[in-house]
Symmetry: C2
Subunit: 293 residues, 2 copies
């Protein structure tokens, strides 16, 4: 089964618990709106690809970890789009949750998704209790304070911000959790896969900064120019557009080189290169480098 189909199935399965006659119907709809249709699902893809490279001997745990990570990501998008942050009207090419269902249900569906993410890991058959517990620790650390997504977003409320710290928390942490979780789900050492998550996470954030400057809102599925508008630190502000593109290329190179030797090395390198092309197409890089030379 292709990774993306397996991810959609895992998400659907782990959200089925919400379909209760006792549940408030609009909340359940808002949660589904936040999760489907998805974006690139790059974080759960990474988690599953690493798990497969490590043998994937507990596929239900891999599915649960991948679903949990994507739910955390979706929760962060829903809250980030709210009026008190980006006040973004669109996300993934459709109305943002707060625009479709109102602010109260946007806030609550984000909260529910955070809790649901943990429930994915709690409800899976517990053949490997230690792995489940370690997965929860890794996912929780990557979302909460002091070093996860929430801390990353909170840096936007500080007057003095370290760009690296901000990006590591806001974007990098969940990428690192994705690669580490794939390893943990399969009983492998997560440290060997940390470097891949770190390099890809930073590459993804730099790509996002690049798109925010030069992107097409329709293609991106969300508004552009948000960083400058909100005075947020960004790689393009720090390095210029060409500098940011060069830095992105170096990060992808670092990601490829960090992949541990083994049976999954080749397919993982292909996934990283494909993702790199999707994030910043080669023609954009060539065009930018030609202009700067």
């Amino acid at each position: 089964m292709p990774l993306i189909a397996r991810i959609e199935r895992a998400l659907t399965t782990h959200l089925e618990h919400l379909d209760s006659p006792n549940a408030p119907p609009k909340l359940i709809k808002a949660i589904h709106h936040a999760v489907f249709p998805g974006g690139a699902r790059i974080r759960p893809q990474l988690c599953m690809a690493v798990a497969l490279a490590c043998g994937d001997d507990a596929p239900e745990l891999t599915d649960a970890a991948s679903a949990a990570i994507e739910m955390m990501h979706c929760a962060s998008l829903v809250h980030d789009d709210m009026p008190c942050f980006d006040d973004a009207s669109t996300r993934r090419g459709q109305l943002a949750v707060h625009k479709a269902y109102g602010e109260p249900l946007a806030l609550l569906s984000g909260d529910a998704l955070i809790v649901q993410a943990f429930l994915c890991l709690v409800r899976v058959k517990h053949i490997h209790l230690e792995r489940s517990m370690e997965l929860m620790r890794v996912v929780a650390d990557s979302v909460g304070a002091p070093n996860g997504i929430v801390a990353g977003q909170a840096w936007e409320c500080e007057s003095r911000v370290d760009l690296g710290e901000y990006q590591r928390a806001k974007t990098g942490a969940l990428f690192v959790a994705s690669t580490c979780a794939g390893a943990i789900a399969s009983g492998a050492d997560p440290q060997a896969w940390r470097g891949l998550g770190e390099a890809l996470g930073e590459a993804y954030q730099v790509a996002d900064d690049i798109h925010d400057v030069m992107g097409d809102a329709q293609q991106l599925g969300k508004p552009v120019g948000q960083d400058a508008q909100h005075g947020r630190p960004s790689a393009t502000a720090a390095l210029g557009l060409t500098g940011a593109i060069k830095y992105f290329e170096r990060l992808i190179q670092r990601a490829v080189e960090s992949i541990p030797a083994g049976p999954g090395q080749n397919s993982m390198q292909i996934l990283v290169q494909k993702e790199s092309e999707r994030l910043v197409p080669r023609q954009v890089i060539a065009h930018s480098l030609a202009l700067s030379s």
Copy 2:
């Protein structure tokens, strides 16, 4: 050690992980503002009292569960006070988090507290992995959808609401989780303690409705008249003030009778009676019943 001192110590210990030089300082301050000083800490008191009645053979787990439950409660208060819900300016006698730190940090500190609650249970020494996992399930179910606090708050966004369903989710669920978690932390059967949590949860909600009609904002530490102002279903709206007070008395009686026989029965009955007097003082009951007779 008195329960309340043990709870404050558990909360302090489990929030120490946030004090990192890499953490955004305002977020950490906002989280502390949300948790300290506390209200009556009735949920963690219930959890600890049940654990003690069941032998409390894993006190670190009891502490972690109690801290997790109180953090979930604090998170729900922070989000509930935000402008898109109650828009309340005060809480526990001080500024609400969104008034003291702004909406973005209120939203994020609530998110961080939800994650931190799970981390309490993940970080505790894992002598009893099955108990930890079961505690996470019980706490998560009581906060998320379809039956937890988040679902309860989401009923406020529906045009047709069942009062019982709404109150069971918004308030009852975390009370049930509190008594059940105390039993689980000590390796006892949570079902025997479910009735106590249900009766007290409903009593607490009814008392809150009573205070919202007749309360003193300063004594309550938060604004009054919120239910009528927001058109929310309430026991006083359904039964009238005297009817609500009589119903409260029956619920306290049911709570007392539900306490399982055993070494902790007597001290638990005293705790329930003390809490009942704190929630709706006897003079209020006597005055109301005199008026209605």
